[in-house]
């Protein structure tokens, strides 16, 4: 019980200090003569936010400089970047991340569209969607454990047990340690283990895609669909030719959001790929592994810069798309 009280005490004290400091500053500002009073009050309102934002901006700028330093903090020029694009292990990481972006985004979005379409106005729609949406709420570490259990080579592993039901002698598979896909082991081909870890993120992201696309589907005017059908369109044609183009903006939002989340995939690699072993590493995982456990901050910083370069244009596309959607309606 002591834990509960010390937790609450810490939380309450922390927030009380914050409120007290802000209140005191505002009171001080109110004692000043005009025109200083109004300026000081504005500063009290916006100041804490600015300080926290500086805590984002300055480190981000410093990170560029770090990316040009080597392990011993000597100037290394573009050495870290050269290492990333020439070293075999790092090329594997880049290729993996690319596959993650393509496969997980594509499959999650398609599943989202499919469920949203067929569940629309179905009996039990909210319940079915809630079941599919549920994984969105849990941590990736929790999700990783759920699926480690499914993929386990032991007799209680669900996937191995299902394979044993197939005819013929089935050997036990160590799924998460299998870096090959259909017998191919290549830097440019994701291993079976990577594919199976992607399944977990699809399991999480499909729920997000479903909910967002489903909300958009309910905004498609009924008469638009009816008009298409009166003109002789089948359900299928009406969906692909009328409904999908109508919600195009939403689909772009979903896809860009999933890409951004997927590019930064980290927790799941820590939980299911033992921190990137067996060829499962991705950019964000490698950024962490190099910067902290391997103590090579320069290389870690370079990975972070590449992540920024990969994410930035997608955020830009997303922002432009959202503006177009706002202005279009």
């Amino acid at each position: 019980m002591g834990d509960i009280f010390s937790s609450l005490a810490l939380v309450v004290v922390g927030i009380a200090i914050f409120v007290a400091v802000l209140g005191a500053l505002y009171w001080l500002a109110s004692q000043l003569p005009e025109p200083w009073r109004e300026r000081a009050r504005t500063a009290v309102f916006i100041g804490p936010g600015i300080i926290l934002l500086l805590g984002l901006v300055i480190p981000a700028l410093l990170n560029f400089r770090f990316s040009f330093l080597d392990r011993d903090e000597e100037w290394y020029g573009f050495g870290n970047y050269r290492d990333i694009f020439t070293n075999d292990n790092n090329i594997k990481v880049l290729a993996n991340t690319l596959w993650w972006g393509i496969l997980v985004t594509g499959v999650s979005t398609v599943i989202g569209i499919t469920i949203a379409r067929f569940a629309d106005r179905m009996r039990g729609e909210p319940f079915a969607k809630a079941l599919i949406f549920l994984p969105t709420a849990i941590s990736m570490v929790g999700a990783g454990i759920i699926w480690n259990f499914v993929y386990s080579p032991k007799e209680y592993g669900l996937l191995n047990s299902m394979l044993r039901l197939l005819p013929g002698e089935q050997e036990t598979k160590f799924f998460l340690q299998d870096p090959k896909l259909f017998g191919i082991q290549s830097n440019y081909v994701p291993g079976l283990n990577t594919i199976l870890i992607m399944v977990v993120i699809i399991w999480i992201q499909a729920g997000f895609a479903t909910v967002v696309i489903s909300a958009a589907l309910k905004g498609v005017p009924d008469d638009l669909v009816e008009a298409a059908k009166i003109d002789g369109a089948t359900d299928r044609q009406a969906f692909y030719k009328v409904v999908l183009p109508y919600i195009k903006g939403t689909i772009i939002t979903v896809a860009t959001t999933v890409v951004i989340a997927v590019l930064k995939i980290f927790d799941i690699i820590q939980t299911m790929g033992k921190g990137g072993s067996f060829g499962t590493s991705t950019m964000a995982n490698e950024m962490y592994e190099q910067a902290f456990p391997q103590d090579n901050e320069g290389l870690g910083a370079a990975w972070a810069v590449l992540l920024f370069v990969a994410v930035a244009p997608i955020v830009f596309v997303n922002a432009r798309n959202q503006r177009a959607m706002r202005e279009g309606r």
Partner: protein, 314 residues
Amino acid sequence: MTDISAPLPHAVAGATDKVKDETPLMTKVAKATGGGPGKYIVWLIAALWTVPTMGLLISSFRPEDDIKTSGWWTWFGEPANVTLDNYSSVLSDKVGGQPFSSFFWNTVRIAVPGAIIPIAVASFAAYALSWMHFKGRDALSVFIVALMVVPLQMCLIPLLRLFSSDAFEKLPLEGIPSIWLAHAIFGMPIAIFLLKNFIGSLPSEVIEAARVDGASHMTIFLKIVMPLSVPAIASLAIFQFLWVWNDLLVAKVFGGGARNQPMTYALVDMVGNKGNEWQLLTAGAFITMIVPLIVFLSLQRFFVRGLLAGSVKG
């Protein structure tokens, strides 16, 4: 969003005779929405999506010997074989010298202020950016939106150095407070952006009228703007809370030793060192999931709204 319960325009559409095939449109609509094979796909996926979590939940209540010798699906043949032992043993199980229960409380200590601090700071900033007049206000707003492009990975190394520098040594920031600070920093752009969108679109007559009556900014903020912003703040708070609750990376980088770490850290450690001790892993994983699931099930509407609004971040 349209009202789902609104009647379908069957009557209007069904009357038409321009449909090429002989099927009346009414049954076609019914086929697409209820009777067709589509619903089986939905229920199949819903079932597939549920099985892995169900396996974990069932296993967490089975005796250790059962878990390790048979699949969880065999439990349906012997449903009386349940126990709470796994939960009591995982709570006292030690990771890095700390019992798992202490990691639970660390998660609480991290997540509650980790959600409240950035939202409080961002609310003040959003008010200032919307309703206070100062030079460079619009440029600052644009700059904050642009900052959403920066992935938090860009800041990990320099920020950790800053937090462990001499200047910061003197501040009481070591451990959990530095995790709060990091989450507040990383959450700031999106929180200001979303709250400014909301607070800035409140009717200006209300604010102006209060100004004319002599109300100070603090009074307007606390008495008018905050009460009106409850829905926006609730969505953002739930989203930020779950994000911090489920976080591994920020805590791992800024938390220091096991003493300050959340449950996610302890679980990853257990996966590495006790990967086959499923009586511990299943119960431990379920304990981390319980709060998010309660939040999700009770506040699903706010959760969805937060998710929709949050899909603009870098």
